[in-house]
Symmetry: C2
Subunit: 432 residues, 2 copies
Amino acid sequence: MSRKWLIKNGAFAVLDTNKPVIHGYMLIEGDKITYVGEERPEGVEGAETFDGKGLLFLPGLINTHGHAAMSLLRGYGDDLALQVWLQEKMWPMEAKFTSEDVYWGTALSALEMLKGGTTTFLDMYDHMDQVGKVVEESGMRAVLTRGVIGLCPPEVQQQKLDEAVAFARDWNGKADGRITTMISPHSPYTCPPDYIEKLVQAAHDLNLPLHTHMSETRAEVQQNVDDYGVRPVQHLLNLGVFSRPTLLAHAVHLTDEEIEVLAAHKVTVSHNPGSNLKLASGIARVPELLKAGVVVSLGTDGPASNNNLDMFEEIRLAALIHKGVSGDPTAVPAREALLMGTDYGAKSLFLDNTGRLAVGMKADFIAVNTEQAHFLPRTDYVSHAVYSAGPKDVEHVWVDGKQVVRNGECLTLDEERVRFEAQSAFEGLLSR
Amino acid sequence: MSRKWLIKNGAFAVLDTNKPVIHGYMLIEGDKITYVGEERPEGVEGAETFDGKGLLFLPGLINTHGHAAMSLLRGYGDDLALQVWLQEKMWPMEAKFTSEDVYWGTALSALEMLKGGTTTFLDMYDHMDQVGKVVEESGMRAVLTRGVIGLCPPEVQQQKLDEAVAFARDWNGKADGRITTMISPHSPYTCPPDYIEKLVQAAHDLNLPLHTHMSETRAEVQQNVDDYGVRPVQHLLNLGVFSRPTLLAHAVHLTDEEIEVLAAHKVTVSHNPGSNLKLASGIARVPELLKAGVVVSLGTDGPASNNNLDMFEEIRLAALIHKGVSGDPTAVPAREALLMGTDYGAKSLFLDNTGRLAVGMKADFIAVNTEQAHFLPRTDYVSHAVYSAGPKDVEHVWVDGKQVVRNGECLTLDEERVRFEAQSAFEGLLSR
């Protein structure tokens, strides 16, 4: 029989239009939420209770684009022109990454994400079995995908494709269903068209979504036009990418027509404001995308270009920068920004079982300590969550109904060991 | 004899160009730093020692523009057009503020600021004696100024001027010298020219700097041109404002010529990125100001338009948004952003005794816990402080050589009482 427990005295961010926060009860049975409401539910006599006094319960935050292992390069190169940063800092170090490095880098990131209230993350990287292992151990939910770059001889292309397919097939549904997978051509500018077509076919064969970087920089859009005569959206459309459910990372530089195409094909977008600002890529047209009906979620991108995995910061940036840039203080209101970090996150990953505090959803949620100066006065908890909260306000985290963070301590990963090994891994990279 | 104590095993952000962080020792005697260096200093046999292992010591953060008591209106109105927000939300409530409300609102803010690593703040508001009282009790350093609006009959103008002058005269040097004062016409659009001239004269008489809001919005600049035939910088120059040391809040909308005038007159600027974004005021020309030699510091503005008092966020925003908007990833590098939040903060407030970890400076500094995932690997502590740190990473805070936060707990204010009274004050405002 699955465990049944009742949270009482809580404030729950259900994020409904007319009543975004309700004060009352939430019932969890096994891995699912079975009740949320103001009245005490019926038939809970035997259930354990958890006192939610002073806590704001939010859906677990969902980070829809990243490369977790790159935490090993946090602070290794900052404030540099993009090509200098990539060619002189990132690529030479990444070329040295072993599977063990990926394991410890990902574990370091998982620790930061979990303690900061992120319950689900997408990861696109290499050595993905190591990432899968961290997800299994940490108790997180994740969408994993081997990102492939096709600028290599055909036999290497084929080998990478086989690897991506094998990973996607073997790991889909693993970790009690917490892991799902996607197929990922790295980007239109790093994958030749015929290679992208092969990856689309693989996604069809496996019945999986696609994920790719697109239109992160102006230069990349121009290169696409120079090479293929069309902008990236038309290019990907021509290659059949949007015949599959597709999540695009960045999508900073878009025309009105491109936004229409994305909306028509139900393509979803992972907006990465922190990374886009830091790398000076530009400001994505988020208000226009949302208005067109595109599902826009939030991602941190890799921790070497952010440099943290704080989803509260991405939510706040999404709420702030589009106001400042558009001159419209009503652009991306607080509730919309919080939805981008939760419900829209799930939708953009094509997951229908997480992202909301609602009956039938997986019990992926977090409790934030509101008994602090920056949560006062008790005016509007959605506003406070978006404009005032930070990762260390998270007291407790549950994924799939299991507690993984208690009183700010991670229960699933050995924090001291992870920190030690991650530092050692970085020193190893430096010395090789 | 003043207390003498030595921090060992610390990482100290001295922020020198060639060596921004040194690992070693810092000696504090009474209220001053008397040594920072890699070698153990001579003649410290009798000194107490403090083990700085795992801690990054930063100069206390300096918040150069705000209205602390407005924390009572945090979350009371968000994501609204500026005039709706002011006229329907802020002004009706502020009109009801009693001196007791100002006391508890300011105390709530002082608590948040101190625990988040801010050691010095500027406050422009009303009932300033209450703000002074909070500064005395909290142990913070502050620059206080009664902001006056001159859109009223001459006798009310005179009364406000007398009040501003009396406050500035009586409180300058109070709290063991931790309080200094300024004279503040609220803004060119809320003070008639002859009233501004009287305030300039008062500043001359008292030998104090001036502080005012300027060019926060485009509309306000246009109004200045309509009313006086010149843009705000020329207007204030004509009125003699820049004959005094002057700190401008916001200065978002500036021409190249205006930037030159500010640089020539050594006018300093408080950049408030969070508030400017949230109120959709625009993006200040910070890279151009810095390049012209203007001292640009950082402020949160009031907590009702931010909605927090987290200076780490302002530092990070200053480092991020100007890259994203200019397209130049080298704009406002990490070290420059951290200087804006510390050393340039002191300089913009015309304080020459705080803002740096250096011999002869007041012992205003904070210790950040680096034994956490988001501070790894140990690549670049300046980068980590700017791009990864948050207010709750602050373990300890000292002002004037006295510890005011220990292990994240405020030693000077009764946190539980402050939170209770601030909530009550807000409820009182709602019910009146």
